[in-house]
Assembly symmetry: C2
DNA sequence: TTGTTTTATCGTAATATTGCAATATAAAAA
DNA sequence: TTTTTATATTGCAATATTACGATAAAACAA
């Protein structure tokens, strides 16, 4: 069909999948790395950093916000974006948990 | 358009994006978590664990293999799958690197 | 008020992904 | 050999994503 059969998987599996789906596009990786590079909130400016039109960037920012990967604070005409440390930690923990319980003698 | 404008992003950004794209689907998250749960190579058996038809599972396994997230060893008629510890570590490191250089006083 | 700036939304075309039936392939068993 | 078992590939329909022009909305300046 094309739609994922989300109903057949656990809530947690669907959550993890959509969290990583948010960073499964190079534009969104670029946004994350830009926010990391400037090391502060960025008001405006993101559109000029990417080789994409403004509506497209806005759409990618919306997806990152929905996934809780970035936070956006309204500052007058502009919006201040920054990374959400908690979500970064959550994703780190997902993999460190896997690494810990991995039997490396396998295969 | 629909296609991502991959040419305009860095090699590294495209790599990171396709790595996480591999775990952006609940079926592939379920495969990872099943391999983790059994804590050993699994020969066959994966198809029966998922609510999907055999060709669909095969397709998901192929994507996980292409992303180096799982390894598959042929064992006669069956194929032994297990997680790739190096890729797990790589993904963990991506986020721990972000967490480390994150200015948490922001926003 | 009007104009400017910044971000969001709508509508839609191009492309990608998902899922599966049918079929193919490959190795072992009978 | 034929049959069985396990996995892969092909082809296609249904759905999702990506990208952007046009437009809207919101805040501020003049």
């Amino acid at each position: 069909m094309g739609a994922s059969k989300a109903d057949f998987f656990s809530e947690e599996q669907n959550e993890i999948a959509s969290l990583f789906k948010a960073i499964s596009h190079p534009a969104r990786v670029a946004i994350i790395e830009y926010l990391l590079k400037v090391d502060s909130c960025i008001c405006g400016d993101i559109v000029n950093e990417l080789p994409l039109a403004q509506p497209t960037v806005s759409q990618h920012l919306k997806e990152l916000k929905n996934a809780n990967i970035i936070k956006g604070n309204i500052e007058g005409t502009a919006i201040c974006y920054c990374l959400n440390p908690e979500t970064m930690k959550k994703m780190e923990n997902y993999f460190s948990g896997i690494s810990k319980s991995l039997n490396t003698k396998c295969c």
